[in-house]
């Protein structure tokens, strides 16, 4: 949300709060229009995005969207598909036709079993939040090395930073390969010390990302100092 705020400083709003000072703006996400004015429906930061008022929630459950890169864990296997836990309200389906291998009917478990992690993309999401994932695509694969950590989805913009600057600095400092999935899971691969440093930096963002001064705390963390 950074970079597209105009007008007043973003402020915290709570559900039911009447926002009387932006009556001329269009209601966006987390805002409903009533006779009293705009009403916030979520706890979060009020932002003005080019004439549209919306609330950037502080806490939110991941709701999959078509095209999202996700890291999922296999939760169940049938003869011709896998069920993936993608940290959303519902498990996603990964049919064998969308796997990167040639899978015979009944052979799905031999390719990927319960508990294994995959990097996939949400291909279809319908209005009742059913998700179909695909592993056909560049970089999509079974994850067999490295470490996966979680971060609240609303902190992902903080982890990426402006134009990916923050994640790039973590990658450089830790000398790790890092993939940030849209569902709040982060894959880190490198040597043990590098992974530890990257995880520490992610923890700093998880715990204090909603407070000001994040950049200096991250710099201290990556320099190995106190946070």
């Amino acid at each position: 949300m950074k970079g597209n705020q105009k007008g007043a400083e973003p402020r915290l709003v709570i559900p039911g709060e009447v926002i009387s000072d932006h009556a001329n703006l269009n209601p966006g996400c987390g805002i409903i229009k009533s006779t009293d004015g705009h009403i916030a429906t979520r706890l979060g930061t009020l932002n003005n995005n080019e004439g549209t008022l919306h609330v950037q929630p502080i806490n939110a459950t991941y709701m999959p969207r078509s095209g999202d890169l996700v890291i999922g864990y296999v939760e169940a296997v049938l003869s011709n598909l896998w069920f993936l836990d993608v940290a959303g309200p519902f498990n996603a389906l990964l049919p064998m036709s969308l796997a990167p291998w040639k899978v015979e009917f009944g052979d799905a478990r031999n390719h990927m079993d319960v508990g294994e992690a995959v990097l996939a993309r949400a291909q279809e999401v319908d209005e009742s939040h059913s998700v179909v994932c695909t592993m056909k695509g560049v970089g999509l694969r079974k994850i067999s090395e490295g470490r996966i950590v979680s971060i609240p989805v609303q902190q992902i913009p903080n982890l990426r930073g402006e134009n990916g600057a923050t994640i790039q600095s973590i990658k450089e400092a830790s000398d790790c390969r890092i993939i940030v999935a849209e569902n709040g899971r982060v894959w880190i691969d490198g040597d043990t010390a590098g992974i530890r440093m990257a995880v520490q930096a992610i923890n700093v963002i998880t715990m204090t990302g909603h407070r000001s001064g994040l950049e200096s705390r991250l710099t201290a963390c990556l320099a190995g100092g106190e946070v």
Partner: protein, 242 residues
Amino acid sequence: MGGYGDVKLLNDDGSRLDGRSIDESRPVEIKAGVIPAADGSAWVRHGLNEVVCAVYGPMEAHPRKIQLQDQAVIDVRYNMAPFSTSDRIRPGFNRRSREISKVTAEAFASTVMVERYPRSKIRIEIEILSAEAGTRCAGLTAASVALADAGIPMRGMIVGVASGKVEDTVVLDLDKAEDNYGQADLPMGIMPTTGEIAFMQMDGDLSMEELQQAMDYNFAAAAEMHDIMEAALRARYEGGDE
């Protein structure tokens, strides 16, 4: 709510046994985000009531037969801890806790934007750690803060407040003696930002004038409590509560 005529609940000067005036609420303290493992949580101390609430979800509704194709199900579990009262309570659900769970879920179904999450479930766990009187109201308040903390979209936060009648006088926020020996009790769930009533029950008898007086007390108290709820949420995210 026996309405025992021989129990004295008001002092000669019109004040109540605990020294409060008739339109004075018990002290309220609220904290948001007290359970790290939950998606949202809150702790409320209202007088001697102490309530913890945790919210989980939205998640897939199980068993599948409870799923609604066009909206989420609100699943509330209100439970009193065995040690919450002077007499030990047998653990587990009973008729009273089922009733309170049901009416609380119905209250939140009117304010939570359930249409956003078809086939899902939002689970609200209300645990009464210490009970004096008005635990369902304290539970409503705690659940509202926990829902907001979890980032669940709502049209407004419900505040649980109660008034009642003792010695033919309408009083705000009954304590244990007033609840047990008073003449009436009117717990309400109010959304102060819109002035809507999401929940209302009545035990005992009130005339129309007394009912209006009790509702007036409740609305005024709800506005005050809403400020405390808001402050708790702001303290969690603006106050650097780490």
